[in-house]
């Protein structure tokens, strides 16, 4: 979870009272923990080794700024190095005479076809006229998958039966010229980097269409092999960028570090869901925090800002941390989570919040929600404020008044108590407090 690394480091440095200059022992003790954190995040072990050597070089003998503890000082250097390794997010480079070609490559199931549709939608929104090309002739229904997605986003899809993928790609370009389409996005079959025949095929496709962008679409859950995958694709087809997919899960995404380290090409997008609009620009600071296990607070805030009124989001966050949490708050939370839909998911980005949102939005169906609402509304204000006073006769009254059962009411109270307990724990957690402070600092005046 969020606090592991920072906490562990704190524990190490708490033992050292002196401040000033970081000694070799200080640094090595800290880096042992950093090493574990990076390996747990799936950064390749060799990349970790290299990385730690660089940090060590910078850290030993470095001055510790007065406002920082030695632990924080090391983390700061680690964080900076991580940022440097991740690099800035790159933009698509589609200048030059149209049509410009984007070639998507990667292992099986990494998300190429879905990402092709996402890119098409993204470009169309920018006023470009994309053409999707179905160059996967192997996977059952791969062409139909792309055609279905194309229909959803209103982008034409080029497909041909009985043709080899390099030919299909080439014919697509002719088609784009004829139809005055200015970007051609080629979806290719998934392939293992050690599959010689398939790697030759992708080389041929590349030679035929001379793409402006060759993007490796890679799963954020990828483990140690990320280096070999990225390295081989880069050598064979010369990557111009990376797209990390399935970032919406809880994978720490250390593979991004590994792939950047071996290819040096920029990460151009993050894919954050199955829907066609789930594509985001890449921000190194967030991924760095995530890899170190420090929560994606910034992403949370930005998403919250995009999707609803910032004030509402801040109020929501504050309410969540409020130690006073009665049935009225519970209902308000439920309503909000329902209304805002994605808030529940957003809150998951905050470490430790997953459990809370589970309690708050236990995937209630519309019907269930109505019943919960009815039960709470059938209570007196005093009862809502202090559910402990709900004895058997009061419960019967509420159940009758709301057209529900006492069992349902008991279930609701159990859920509420769980949520309340979690809120208490969180609000007394100093780290959560600090994060709330961070949220508040960003509040507009």
């Amino acid at each position: 979870m969020f606090d592991t690394l920072t906490d562990r480091l704190q524990a190490i440095f708490d033992k050292l009272s002196k401040r000033g200059v970081l000694t070799e022992q200080d640094v090595d003790a800290a880096l042992r923990e950093v090493r574990v954190a990076l390996l747990e995040a799936d950064v390749n072990f060799r990349v970790v080794k290299d990385f730690l050597a660089r940090v060590r070089e910078r850290a030993v003998g470095a001055e510790v700024h007065r406002s920082l503890t030695p632990g924080q000082a090391v983390i700061k250097i680690v964080h900076e190095e991580l940022l440097a390794t991740l690099g800035e997010g790159g933009k698509l480079d589609l200048g030059g005479p149209p049509p410009r070609v984007i070639l998507l490559v990667g292992l099986q199931g990494s998300g190429k076809t879905t990402t092709a549709a996402k890119l098409a939608l993204h470009l169309r929104k920018q006023g470009r006229r994309p053409l999707l090309v179905a160059a996967d002739i192997y996977r059952p229904a791969a062409v139909l998958q792309l055609q279905t997605l194309g229909k959803q986003i209103n982008v034409p899809v080029f497909a041909e039966s009985d043709q080899a993928p390099p030919d299909i790609a080439q014919h697509a370009i002719r088609q784009a010229v004829q139809s005055a389409l200015d970007v051609v996005i080629v979806d290719t079959a998934g392939r293992l980097q050690i599959d010689e025949a398939m790697m030759q095929e992708v080389e041929q496709i590349k030679a035929r269409v001379r793409p402006a962008e060759v993007l490796l679409v890679a799963d954020a859950m990828t483990g140690q092999e990320a280096v070999n995958i990225a390295d081989t694709f880069n050598k064979r087809v010369g990557l111009t960028g990376l797209i990390l997919t399935k970032v919406d899960g809880d994978a720490r995404g250390g593979a991004a570090i590994s792939m950047r380290a071996v290819t040096q090409v920029p990460i151009k997008f993050l894919a954050t869901g199955e829907k066609v609009d789930a594509l985001e620009p890449f921000h190194p600071d967030r991924l760095a925090s995530r890899i170190l296990g420090m929560g994606d607070v910034l992403t949370l805030i930005e998403k919250a800002q995009q999707q609803f009124d910032e004030q509402q989001a801040l109020d929501a966050a504050e309410k969540l941390f409020n130690a006073r949490f009665d049935l009225e708050d519970f209902l308000a939370q439920l309503r909000m989570v329902r209304k805002m839909g994605p808030l529940g998911e957003l809150l998951n980005l905050l470490p430790g919040m997953r459990e809370v949102t589970r309690q708050l939005s236990p995937d209630v169906t519309e019907r269930q929600f109505k019943r919960i609402e009815a039960m709470i509304c059938s209570m007196t204000p005093a009862e809502r404020h202090n559910p402990d006073m709900l004895n058997a006769s009061r419960k019967r009254r509420i159940a009758a008044g709301s057209g529900t059962t006492v069992q349902e009411l008991n279930q609701l109270l159990r859920n509420f108590r769980e949520a309340q307990k979690m809120m208490k724990q969180l609000s007394t957690n100093p780290r959560m407090r600090t994060m709330l402070g961070l949220v508040q600092r960003r509040r507009p005046r």
Binding site: D42, Q108, G109, A141, E225, D248, V262, E345
Partner: protein
């Protein structure tokens, strides 16, 4: 950075040879342990599990007075294998007909290889005389139903499907009825890929599970989690999440025809007690093999 790239290339060729050499003829040194640690980390075994494994090996080496690296090697392989074989019910669903209708529910994160593995499984059981029916409960992903239907046609196994974006539970229910009507004895249920962190989607999966449970006695009789062997430590979280939601009984580890070693299997079998039943070794229908712990351990050292 160039150095990294070069060393990587070199590692792949020489590393395992080095392990063999180190373990082969010499006495145990600090190097022996380092090499073993690297071997485990590189295979995605994970820090926690690697540390635990090596600590235990240390203890055994001490207690049993092991000095030769060669002997250590043997003991270690033995330990690794024992770990993989530790979960109870470590054998895959039997291919013999054991009840009127047996139900296998297949779950996993997006793109792990569920649909392909189901086609392979259907083929596998059909070859062994079972009457198989498939349920296309991925009503969400574009062309997911068509994908399964094409596989079904290729191997001659009927597929029950519903309307696009329909209720997966309803498809599951229809499939059970169809299975009874057609006297099928094995129903394999394909589900949409979902990340274990998506509460709503996991809830949806529970519903499918519930439908099966109510429709057939003790169903689903097997709930198989499909894990992409290319995945790192997140696979353990997947196993945990899906087990919590629908009680996973076994794992299919796919894409082992690539370079990954699938070391997460040790944490999944060892810590979570979930057996690995099958491995996927390609995209073709016959590219499915029963899991062989001994061979799996050997491949770590190759």
């Amino acid at each position: 950075m160039a150095s990294l790239r070069e060393t990587l290339a070199r590692t792949r060729q020489s590393f395992f040879g080095k392990v063999q050499a180190l373990l082969g003829q010499s006495n145990i040194t600090a190097d022996t342990w380092d090499t073993l640690e690297t071997l485990l980390l590189q295979a995605d075994v994970g820090v926690a599990t690697s540390t635990k494994l090596l600590e235990r090996l240390h203890q055994r080496a001490k207690a049993e007075g092991i000095v030769r690296a060669e002997r250590l090697h043997e003991v270690f392989k033995h330990e690794l294998r024992a770990l993989l074989e530790s979960p109870p019910h470590a054998t895959p669903p039997s291919w013999e007909k054991t009840r009127l209708l047996e139900v296998i529910l297949v779950v996993g994160v997006n793109g792990s290889g569920k649909t392909t593995s189901i086609a392979k499984l259907a083929h596998w059981y059909q070859q062994r005389g079972r009457k198989v029916l498939l349920a296309a409960c991925d009503t969400f992903r574009a062309a997911a139903v068509d994908q399964l239907q094409i596989w079904g046609e290729r191997i001659g196994v009927p597929v029950i499907a519903g309307p696009p974006n329909g209720d997966p539970g309803a498809v599951a229910f229809d499939a059970v009825q169809a299975a009874f009507a057609r006297k099928a004895d094995l129903l394999i249920v394909d589900t949409a890929g979902r990340l274990h962190t998506r509460h709503n989607l996991m809830q949806e999966l529970r519903k499918v599970h519930g439908v099966l449970r109510r429709a057939v006695h003790e169903a689903p009789h097997h709930t198989l989690l499909v894990i992409d062997a290319t995945n790192g430590q997140n696979a353990v979280a997947q196993a945990r999440g899906f087990t919590e939601a629908v009680g996973v009984t076994g794992v299919i580890l796919t894409k082992l025809d690539g370079t990954p070693k699938g070391g997460v299997a040790f944490a999944i079998a060892g810590e979570l007690g979930i057996p690995i039943h099958f491995i996927g070794v390609g995209e073709q229908i016959e590219d499915l093999e029963p899991f062989d712990a001994a061979a799996f351990v050997e491949s770590l050292f190759e």
